[in-house]
Symmetry: C2
Subunit: 478 residues, 2 copies
Amino acid sequence: MSQRTKIKALLESGKTDIDVTVKGWVRTFRNNQFIALNDGSTNNTLQVIVDFENTDPTLLKRITTGAAISATGKLVASVGKGQSVEVKATTIEILGDSDPEKYPLQPKKHSLEFLREIAHLRFRTNTFGAVFRVRNTLAFAVHQFFQERGFIYLHTPIITASDAEGAGETFHVTNFDIANPPKTESGEIDYKQDFFGRSTNLTVSGQLEGELGAMGMSDIYTFGPTFRAENSNTTRHLAEFWMIEPEMAFYDAKDNADLAEALLKYVITYALDKNKDDIEFLTQRLLEEEKQKPQNERSEMTLIEKLQFCLANDFERLTYTEAIDILKDSTPNKKKKFQYLVEGWGTDLQSEHERYLVEKHFKKPVILTDYPKEIKSFYMRQNDDGKTVAAMDILFPGIGEIVGGSQREERLDRLEQRMDEIGIPKDELWWYLDTRRFGGCPHAGFGLGFERLVLFVTGMGNIRDVIPFPRFPKNAEF
Amino acid sequence: MSQRTKIKALLESGKTDIDVTVKGWVRTFRNNQFIALNDGSTNNTLQVIVDFENTDPTLLKRITTGAAISATGKLVASVGKGQSVEVKATTIEILGDSDPEKYPLQPKKHSLEFLREIAHLRFRTNTFGAVFRVRNTLAFAVHQFFQERGFIYLHTPIITASDAEGAGETFHVTNFDIANPPKTESGEIDYKQDFFGRSTNLTVSGQLEGELGAMGMSDIYTFGPTFRAENSNTTRHLAEFWMIEPEMAFYDAKDNADLAEALLKYVITYALDKNKDDIEFLTQRLLEEEKQKPQNERSEMTLIEKLQFCLANDFERLTYTEAIDILKDSTPNKKKKFQYLVEGWGTDLQSEHERYLVEKHFKKPVILTDYPKEIKSFYMRQNDDGKTVAAMDILFPGIGEIVGGSQREERLDRLEQRMDEIGIPKDELWWYLDTRRFGGCPHAGFGLGFERLVLFVTGMGNIRDVIPFPRFPKNAEF
């Protein structure tokens, strides 16, 4: 194929008076003369000027919104406003037509809901181009952060036989004919005949396997898909989402919180640096969107300000117990404005409480630690008070919980006791307990919900708009 | 926690006479004095010297193989052979005991089969430490390669409703109670009541969705898990494995092959550079292993030589048709040594034929192109001869197919015709066809089986030994 230059490279090159070939999709074509061309490498379009007097009219007619074209010509300084350079085309080739009557993406504003229905085409819009470039950068920044620190990227299994974590409802995985599964003599499903010789499901977390890696490699992280078969039709939940789960040997609870805060600041910095144009676009988008809202519901800060504010300030660290005290004394609690009133120690925090702490009280990200053991998982390290565990949740403005983690219980007797208390079968997790039997050590880890991070950095309102093809109840299209 | 230095950093620092704290797992403890400590950061152990005369004998007894310890002391130049520095410990702390009678990993050589059964502990062995560090490096190198070239990392869905690709048997995903799924009045499974409102399965490839991304973002790649419910108990197949699938707009078949060759060379170079110690260790391991074989079955090159050879030479490019001619005339074909004799054009190549081309005839990686359309997928671009498609397989010595790809059929009429011919339901893939209706363009892509790449670079013999927790028929342990 002929050498092609991407629009981003071309706009950043600072060169003019060179011959170039660009390829991409027509966004608009004005006056039979001005093509706004986008190739996905940047949010910016490149203006391609057609010499319409010397161009076959049948070709001109095929330059329509959505058409894929190749344009060759000279890159020159632009006299028009809004762009530094443009291409004076000598040849235009139509690579793929787009019937303007039928093309679903008209050159006008479409709703995000409509675009979700044509998720296969929304990559071609400004908003989703920006979202998925930012998502890409955040994903790479995660890897870069951990690689710089000597962590090992570990692929933990997606199909698992253990559902012992109790992190949520799981999807079954089977290669049975569901209409006619084999049964035992006593009439039960005969999972011995299933592909894996047992009942299996999709993982809800790679943590337990991640810990196994950490108990030999010191520092590991996962970055893979996880699943919840929960009927949650919210703007914050997906049935299939990506998680980052680092596990670190020889880390205590404070090391864990330090690492999580450093990670979040690193990746946000990285995106602000690498995707400046996209985040500026998304900032404007959000401002426009918020104009629809009453004044008192609009954000106090723009998207960029919010991201920069996050970087400039230490996250507030306090215990669950301290948070309960603040919430009990808070105005919305006293005036009974909370849907769930905070009456005492021990109850789980609701989204409204987390938002109050983050958005009203501290006005910055909050790291909440040392939750009551009853509302947290069996593997969290028990504190000396006998009541709490060394858990840590990080709460972000507008998002709520973005990170959940803990120091892990490394003491075999304590761990087994807790498993017995809440009825987790120890024999199924023999391998997990082995790492406490043989050279266990203090260790910690956390999970970062990747889509929630993307939601925060892009300022989008619905988690279905930050993953290319969202999976949620009654939807597995594409 | 007290500041700790990882052994890799310490060995590379070149410093001596500094105070350090190291933490890790005891590999061996000789003469009540010499601890070989490993922390997973490197294959090398650090010698920690215990002042046994001034150490509590009960503590000395707890320094056993597998125990996790923390050692603080002075880093000094080593007088012994095999190491440049060692730590003269002033304090040793036992973080986690390991009963030497019960610890499964004795300080002796274990078979790979045995270690597979204790995959939760095999991270602590030299071989698997090296394998998983190399795997980590290769994964990061993949990202780095694509990021340098402006590709967008795209997370394509794991749960899909379409099985139209026909790439292999799929696993069903459901949240039905399999013993009692809801049925319609006519007695069939009522998938409308399933979580996604339809029958779903685990993806066999992210390609089709990847193409959608490329048709707006230009260049994308996936890197995620894929699944096959095939009862293949071989050293080359897994039920769950990771694939890298780039899709590029405006690429033709040659661009595609160029990119794949560049990618493979880049990641191998990266691993040779970053994991020199590990690959040297694995080279020795393979030499030892091959000593068990008769002389004529041993490799002509060592592992490192094989990797370097791959980098130093252009991959051999030829068409399927040319390959058939070579195979028909080959000695093993004429002497009927092949299990499947090559009699004419049109049959698929068997592993023995691929190996002959790569290992005997060309003695280097081979890119085979332009296969008969009957043995390839519907989405591959039809060549003008009416018989072949613009497919590309890359064959590696000892591995066989490591990459499979093609230029994609961008012409709607040709694509629909082929789908009709082989009975692929067009309505299910409406979104795929849409990208040919609206601004389609020449494009190409390929899939790289990540575990096969790791297999090649580590010289391991069984694919179950290059992924932390392998999934295969009758096995979903851990």
